[in-house]
Every structure is written in C-alpha cells, then in structure tokens.
C-alpha cells in the first residue's frame, strides 16, 4: 500500500549485490550438502558390503532383488542392511532434532539429550518393557509418552517457552535428566539379570538387533515428521529474530515453538524406541553442521551429519575390534567427548545475544 510517487529507481546494482551475496552462501551449502551426501552413501555402502563378511556388488543386487545366496543373504538382510538403514534414519532424526532445539534456544547445550527428552523416552520405554513386559508397539508408545511428558514438564517448570529463557530451561532439563536416570536405575535394579542386560544394551544405543518391522515404523515417522520439521524450521528462522519481531512478521512465536517441540518429541521417541538413546549424536550434529557452513545453522545439514556419525560409528562398533560387536552408543560416546572438546577449543567465542 505504498504510494508510488518516485520514478522506478535503478535496482541493477542492488540486485547484483544480492545475487552475489546469496550465491556465495548457496554455493557453500550446496558443496557441504553434496559432500555429506556422498560421504553418507560411501559409508552406507561400506557398512553393507564390507566388514568381516564381504558382499560383492553383484551379489548385493541379486540378494536385494530376491535371490537367495546361502550365508550372504542372511547376513545382508538380517544384520548389515537393517543396521545401515536404521543408522541412517536415526542419525537424520537425531541430528535434525538436536539442531532444532539448539537453534531455538540459541545455546548448543539445549539438545534433547541434555534436556532429558531422550531420557524421558528411555525411562518410559524401559519401564514398559521391564515392569509391564509390554510388546514392541507399546514400548514405542511409552517412549512417545515419556518424551512428551518431559517436554511438557520442561515448558511448565521453566515457566516459559524455550527461546525466551534458554538458561532456565537448560537447568530444568538437567534436573529432569538426573531424575530420569534414577528412575531408569530403579527399574534396572528391579529387573532380573537377563532383562537388565538386554535393557542396558538398548540404553547404550544399539543397532544390533534392529528388525525390519521396527525400521518400517522409523521410516514412516522420519518420512512424515522430518520434512514437517524442516518446514517449521523455516518459520523458526523468523522466530529467532526475537519474539516481538517474529509477531511483527506474522509468525506466532509460541505456536511455532510448540509445533517444533512436538515434532522433535515424535522423532526422538521413534528413534529411541528403535535404537535406544544413541549418545552425543543430537548434541554434536548441530555444532558440526554449523562449523561446516561457517556459523550458519541448518537442520538438514545437521541431519546428514547425524546420519554420517551414526553409520560410521556403527561400522567401527561392529568391526573395529574383531570378535566384538559393540552397541553403536559406545563408539559415539567414546568419540563424542573428545570431538566436543575439539569443537569448543577451536570455535570462535560466541556472542551472547539473548
């Protein structure tokens, strides 16, 4: 509704400057995305074809198209392939959800695993499995309920939505996480030794026993919720300018954050139900992606980083020490800590704007 009284100004200079500015950014993110995608494909191929039992590409194609090769078929379809697929899906979900919370709270500490959301899923799932002897589907629902309960508790107890007071929310999250750890311990103490061992493997984060029906569930959730999260993420770009300005730009900050939190809970619950809480992936992917993009957050890039981390870690977990088939969480936990220290040591000091 601007009154056009001036003659149209010459905009070629401004348009040129804009396209220059956006071209550099786009090129960088294209290079990073392509690089990560190629790396992920390579890792998945290595995970599926190499290791202690090599499967040739022609054999792979034959098995996938239905041929039965004794030995190879079983190893590919029951171990290698499901672990690679589940690892990719879990990594995508963990990376993107971690980065969502970190961006929303403007704080790298605010990832769902630090804030207790992942632990909420774990505690509920372990309780359902051990105390109630619930079947797989029920365990997934319990994980969802546990994660949602923690998210609601976070919002209510920190007295505000995340983003408004990140520091407070992180403290509440750490307190909740500590409480949930003791719940898990209590459940484990009550369990018999066989159940407890199984629960411990799962709690470390493991792709070892992933079944195709679990993968179907995870695929469904990731295919639906991840694009939605990326879409809500584009609204978060406006919310991160501050609540007042976001409202001024027509985006309700609370509603946007609530949607993002709900999607994060769903993705975290599905991932946790299938592979357990894989340590450090949600926490590390965001800052790593940010580093690759020279300080710019991106949910999709963080998701790909997460997938690369999980698949690579699972390869190491399965084959690094011959004869030992570790849960993937052992490797991400071991490698995660020094990697985090390296990130901290080499990162530019972050200005606290909130």
């Amino acid at each position: 509704m601007t009154v056009q009284t001036r003659p149209a100004p010459d905009l070629s200079a401004a348009l040129g400057a804009m396209s220059l500015a956006t071209r550099a950014v786009r090129r960088r993110s294209l290079v990073v995305l392509t690089g990560l995608l190629v790396l992920l494909l390579g890792l998945v191929a290595a995970r599926v074809l190499l290791g202690d039992y090599t499967i040739t590409i022609p054999d792979f194609v034959r098995i996938v198209t239905g041929a039965d090769i004794p030995g190879a078929s079983y190893i590919l379809l029951e171990s290698k392939l499901p672990r690679a697929v589940a690892g990719t899906l879990a990594g995508l979900a963990l990376g993107a959800t971690g980065a969502t919370f970190q961006t929303m709270a403007r704080n790298p500490l605010a990832s769902p695993d630090v804030l207790g959301i992942t632990l909420g899923c774990s505690a509920a799932a372990v309780s359902a499995a051990v105390l109630l002897d619930a079947p797989g589907g029920m365990v997934s629902l319990a994980a969802l309920g546990g994660g949602a309960a923690v998210a609601v508790a976070l919002v209510v107890l920190s007295g505000t939505h995340p983003g408004a007071a990140p520091g407070r929310m992180i403290l509440v999250g750490i307190a909740l996480a500590a409480m949930l750890v003791s719940v898990i311990h209590w459940v484990l103490v009550r369990a018999d030794i066989y159940q407890a061992h199984e629960a411990m493997v799962w709690l470390t984060g493991s792709l070892n026993g992933v079944t195709w029906s679990e993968i179907r569930l995870l695929t469904l959730v990731v295919v639906v919720a991840l694009p939605l999260l990326l879409y809500v993420g584009s609204h978060l770009q406006v919310v991160e300018l501050g609540d007042d300005l976001a409202s001024g730009l027509g985006r309700h900050p609370r509603a946007t954050r609530t949607r993002a939190i709900a999607l994060v809970v769903v993705l975290t619950a599905a991932t946790t139900a299938v592979c357990g809480p894989i340590a450090f992936v949600a926490f590390l992917s965001g800052p790593t992606a940010r580093r690759l993009l020279r300080g710019r957050p991106s949910l999709l890039t963080a998701g790909l980083v997460g997938a690369v981390i999980v698949v690579a870690a699972d390869y190491l977990a399965a084959y690094a020490l011959p004869g030992n088939n570790f849960p993937v969480g052992v490797v991400t936990g071991l490698a995660g800590a020094p990697f985090l220290l390296w990130l901290l040591a080499t990162s530019r000091p972050v200005k606290e704007t909130a």
Partner: protein, 281 residues
Amino acid sequence: MTLQSRNLSLAYGKRVVVEGLDLDVPEGRVTAIVGPNGCGKSTALRGLARLLRPTAGQVLLDGTDIHSLPTRTVARRVGLLPQSPIVPEGITVAELVARGRHPHHGLLRQWTRDDDRIVAESLERTHTTDLAGRPVDQLSGGQRQRVWIAMALAQRTGLLLLDEPTSFLDIAHQVEVLDLVRDLSVEDGTTVVMVLHDLPLAARYADHLIAMRDGAIVAEGRPRDVVTADTVCDVFGITCRVRWEHAGDVSVIPLGRHLPTHGQESPEEPPHARVRVAGRP
C-alpha cells in the same frame, strides 16, 4: 490506513502500564511518542503493534479491532521494529532484509522476482546495497539499524512502528536514521510512529508529537505546540528553557541545579549550555 486506540489499557501481569489511551495516528505523517523512562511509551507502541492484549479498550486498524485480525494480515499492513531484535549468527544483510518478506509467503506462495525487486529497493532506499554480502553481526550500530529498517521496508507496509530506532547511536547515526524516516514519510507516504528518547530530535523530525507520563497522554499535537517549558516540566519534571526558532529548530535547555540560571528568554545564554539539533529542513 488508519491506526487508532480507544480507551486502551495495557498491563504486564497486574501492573497497569497504560491506562485509557485514546490515540489517532495521523496518516502519512511521522508521529513521535516521547516521555520519561517507564512512562509507558514503548508499552503503548507494543499495544499498537498487537504484541500485547489490552486489559481494556481496543486498537483499531482501519476501524477493525486489531486482535480480531490474523497475525499475518496485520503483518502485511503494519511493520514493526522492536527495541532490541536479535541478529541470528552468521546471517548476511541480504538474507536478513529478505526475511521482511516472510508475511507475504506461505506454502503456496514462494519467493518470486517481485520479492527480489522489493528487497533490492529496500537496500537502495536505506543505502545498504554495499553491505548486502556482509554478516550483520560485523556492522556498526548505525549500519545495523539501517539494515533493520530495510527489513521492515521489505515488509511493504504502509505503516511503520519503530521502538527507539536511535538508541545506542551517536548523533550522526541518529540523524542518518531519522532522515531516512522522514524520506519514507515524505516520498512514500508511509505512516510512521516512533518512540524517541530525545525531545529536541523528536520535535525536529516529527509532524505530530505525543508526550506521555504515567501511562497517559499529557500533551499531543504539533511539536511547536507541545514542546513548551511548561509541558516539558509537566512531562519530565525538570525546569528548562525552550527556544523555538523560525526555521522550526528547537533548543531545550535543562537548567539543572548547578548551572547559573538566566531569565526565561535571555538572549545571551552561554553557548555551551545550548543543546541544538539541526537536521535537514
């Protein structure tokens, strides 16, 4: 496009900050709200921007209660620049300004050439074209403020609400920002409402002045009628000397407790005690 408030009361929790505000924003003009700290001027602006739900009364945008309109509809008509917006990490000027187009987009309405043109115009208008590729967090305060205004311009609203657009800026950058605000009003017919701290600057740049104290309007009208020694005393609680010159320049000289006082209209005051602000006529 008209913006009015009728018997508007605003509160944070139980603390009532603005009470019974009746306000008519003059169309196509620059309105400045002035007053002491805590007088409710920023709160009033937030109320006008639909950021606060009134405890009583209403804000009318083109005659419709602003709270009955969807957020996005309001965002296409009213632009807002809050006091301390947050600069996202690593964002460039071009990208930040582009976010001003947000209210015009949706699932089905994606970025077009028109958007590019509008962003380019906003950059040109605020003289920030040369900064397009620079990260916003590396800019000076004055440059950054111009970039935020460019973002608000890219929103393409006929009405702009600015909350202290000149705070933390030195005098040169204040004048630069306010000159831009006048350009928008004079050349584009944009209606501007801004909260300002500096009384002489407000008097110099606004067509319409609203002086507030304790959540209510004390005086309103042409700057020349509002900025008088009596009103300033009433609003800020200080004694001062106010001098208007024919070109529309105004000097407000606080007398304070320590400086020697001259007569009410003494012509030979010491030059160092004169606060005089000259901008573009």
